[in-house]
C-alpha cells in the first residue's frame, strides 16, 4: 500500500455556503504531508471526513487501506489525532486522561508517555481545564504519540502557541517520525513551519484542492519571471501562468508561473519575448500567488 490516505472524488456539503467538491488527495506512506489553506478553506472538514467524524455525500476515502467511515473502529486504533480545539474533558487530570487513553489502545507505549510527561514538563495532577494553551497542546500531542499510531493527523497543532512550545512540539514529532517511520498529515497556515518539515504539500481554497505536489517540485517550479515583449495572448504554455501584470515602469511584465523548468525560457524566445530574470519564491510567496490565481478564476492543478 503506497498511500496512507486516499481520497477520491470527494463531495461534501454543509449548509448553503460550504461545499467540498471533486477532492482528490493522496498521502504517500511515510511522508510528512502538509495541508495548506486559508481559514475556512475546508481543511478541518476534510480532516473530519478522513477520520470518519463526518460522512461524505459521495466519493471514497481510504485510510491505511480500509474504507472510512465504515471501518473507523479498526482504523482509528492506528491513527493519532490532534484536533484544532482541545477536545478533552477539563475536569479530568493529566494523569487520568493518560490512563483513560492507555486503556483504549493495545499499542500504547507507557514508557514514551512517561518520557514525554517529563520532557513536556506536565504535572500529572493538574486538571486539564487549568492548563495553559501550550500545555494542553503538548498533552494532546503526547496522547497521539504514545499511542504509537502509523498515521498522525494534526489539525493546526501549533496555532496560537508561543515559539518555545512550537519548537518542543515539532521536535517531539520529528523524533517520533525518525523512530517509527509514521505518516504525518498536518494542516496549518503557518507556511514557514511546514516548509521545514514537509515533503509533500497540498493547497486548498474554498473547498477545492488547488494543487498537490512534492514540496521541492512546488518550490522549484514556482517562479517569478521578468518578461519583456510577450504577446497578449499566449497559447499552450508548458508552464502554468498564475499571474501576469506589468512591472512598475520599464515596459516589462512580472509573471508568476508554476511547473516551471529552466529550459522553458525557450518558449518565450519562440514567441518573440525574452525572460530577463527568474526569481525564486519561497513557499509562502508561492502559496499566496497560487491562491490569488485560483481566486481570479484559474483552474485547479
Amino acid at each position: 500500500m503506497s498511500d496512507t490516505i486516499q481520497i477520491e472524488r470527494l463531495h461534501y456539503r454543509a449548509g448553503k455556503n460550504f461545499e467540498i467538491k471533486e477532492l482528490d488527495l493522496h498521502v504517500p506512506s511515510g511522508s510528512i504531508y502538509g495541508f495548506l489553506g486559508p481559514n475556512g478553506s475546508g481543511k478541518t472538514t476534510t480532516i473530519r471526513l478522513v477520520l470518519g467524524l463526518l460522512r461524505p455525500l459521495s466519493g471514497r476515502i481510504t485510510v491505511l487501506g480500509l474504507p472510512m467511515p465504515e471501518q473507523h473502529a479498526r482504523v482509528l486504533g492506528r491513527v493519532g489525532y490532534v484536533p484544532e480545539q482541545p477536545h478533552l474533558d477539563s475536569t479530568l487530570t493529566v494523569r487520568e486522561l493518560i490512563d483513560f487513553q492507555a486503556a483504549f489502545y493495545p499499542t500504547w507505549d507507557r514508557v514514551r508517555a512517561e518520557e514525554l510527561v517529563q520532557r513536556f514538563e506536565l504535572d500529572g495532577g493538574s486538571l486539564f481545564g487549568r492548563l495553559s494553551k501550550g500545555q494542553k497542546a503538548k498533552l494532546m500531542i503526547l496522547l497521539a504519540l504514545a499511542q504509537r499510531g502509523d498515521l498522525l493527523v494534526l489539525d493546526e497543532p501549533t496555532d496560537g502557541l508561543d515559539p518555545v512550545v512550537r519548537r518542543d512540539i515539532l521536535s517531539a514529532l520529528l523524533t517520533y517520525v525518525s523512530e517509527r517511520g509514521a505518516t504525518i498529515f498536518i494542516s496549518s497556515h503557518l507556511v514557514h513551519e511546514l516548509e521545514r518539515v514537509c515533503d509533500w504539500v497540498a493547497v486548498m481554497d474554498n473547498g477545492r484542492l488547488i494543487t498537490e505536489a512534492p514540496m521541492e517540485k512546488l518550490k522549484q517550479g514556482t517562479k517569478r519571471l521578468v518578461v519583456f515583449g510577450a504577446p497578449a495572448e499566449i497559447v499552450n504554455p508548458p508552464f502554468r501562468v498564475l499571474t501576469r501584470e506589468s512591472a512598475n515602469g520599464g515596459g516589462g511584465e512580472n509573471w508568476v508561473v508554476g511547473n516551471w523548468e529552466p529550459a522553458m525560457t525557450s518558449y518565450f524566445e519562440g514567441v518573440g519575448a525574452s525572460v530577463r530574470d527568474v526569481i525564486d519564491l519561497d513557499l509562502e510567496d508561492g502559496f499566496v500567488e497560487l491562491l490569488r490565481s485560483f481566486r481570479k478564476g484559474g483552474t485547479g492543478r
Binding site: 482509528l76 482541545p86 477536545h87 477539563s90 475536569t91 486503556a103
Partner: protein, 221 residues
C-alpha cells in the same frame, strides 16, 4: 474490554461522585424515616392507618429519587462529551454503540449503590420496627421496584442525552414499541409481562413507566 470499562467507570465516577453519594444517603434514609415511630405492637387499627398514611406519603419520594438519580446520572455521563462535541469519543477505536454501552454500564454499576441503600435501609427499618398486627413489610419488593424505576429513568434520559440523534431515536423507539405492545396486550386482556425480572412488583398498567405511578408502600396489608 475490561480495561476500557474500568477507564470509562473511573471517569464517570469522577463526574457523578456527588450524585451517587447524596443519592445513596437519601435512599438509605427515606425508608428509615418513613417508619419512624412504628415501634409499638399494641397499636390499634387507627394507628395502623396513620402508619400507612405516613408510609404512603414518604413513599412518594422513591419515584422522585429514582427519576432524579436517573436524570442526573445520565447527564453526568454525557455532559463532558457534549462539551467537547464528542470528538474525543468518536475518534476512539471502537464502534459508537460499544462506547455508548460502556457508558451505560458504568452508570448502571454506580447506581447499584443507591439501590443497595434502599434495600439495606428498608430491611433495617422493617426489622427494627414493630409493626401493628395485620401489616407486613415488603423491603425486597420495594427495593426491586426502586431498582427498576431507577433503570427506566436512567435508560430514558441516557438515550436522550447520548448525543447522537440516531442512537437516541432507536432506543426511544424500542421503549415506545415495548410500551405499545404492553398497551395492546392490556387492551386485549392478554396476560403479558415483558419485564420478567419485575414479577414480584406492582406492575399494573401500560408498561415500564407505570412503575413510577401508584403507591410505594414499604409496609402494607
Amino acid at each position: 474490554m475490561i480495561a476500557r470499562f474500568r477507564a470509562v467507570l473511573n471517569s464517570q465516577w469522577k463526574w457523578s461522585r456527588l450524585i451517587v453519594v447524596l443519592g445513596t444517603v437519601a435512599a438509605f434514609a427515606i425508608p428509615l424515616v418513613s417508619l419512624q415511630g412504628a415501634a409499638r405492637a399494641d397499636r390499634g387499627a387507627l394507628q395502623a392507618q396513620e402508619l400507612l398514611r405516613a408510609v404512603q406519603s414518604w413513599g412518594t419520594l422513591y419515584p422522585l429519587l429514582a427519576t432524579a438519580l436517573g436524570l442526573l446520572m445520565a447527564i453526568a455521563a454525557w455532559a463532558p462529551d457534549h462539551r467537547g462535541r464528542h470528538i474525543h469519543a468518536l475518534t476512539l477505536p471502537l464502534e459508537r454503540w460499544r462506547y455508548v454501552l460502556l457508558r451505560f454500564g458504568a452508570g448502571g454499576v454506580l447506581l447499584a449503590a443507591p439501590i443497595a441503600a434502599v434495600l439495606i435501609g428498608s430491611s433495617l427499618a422493617v426489622l427494627t420496627a414493630t409493626l401493628p398486627p395485620g401489616l407486613q413489610g415488603y423491603p425486597i419488593a420495594l427495593a426491586v421496584r426502586f431498582a427498576f424505576a431507577v433503570f427506566v429513568a436512567y435508560a430514558v434520559f441516557f438515550a436522550v442525552s447520548a448525543g447522537t440523534a440516531r442512537t437516541a431515536g432507536i432506543i426511544l423507539g424500542v421503549i415506545a414499541a415495548v410500551i405499545l405492545v404492553q398497551v395492546v396486550a392490556g387492551m386485549a386482556n392478554i396476560d403479558l409481562n415483558l419485564f420478567g425480572a419485575a414479577q414480584t412488583v406492582l406492575l399494573q398498567g401500560p408498561g415500564p413507566l407505570a412503575v413510577f405511578t401508584g403507591r410505594w408502600m414499604l409496609v402494607d396489608v
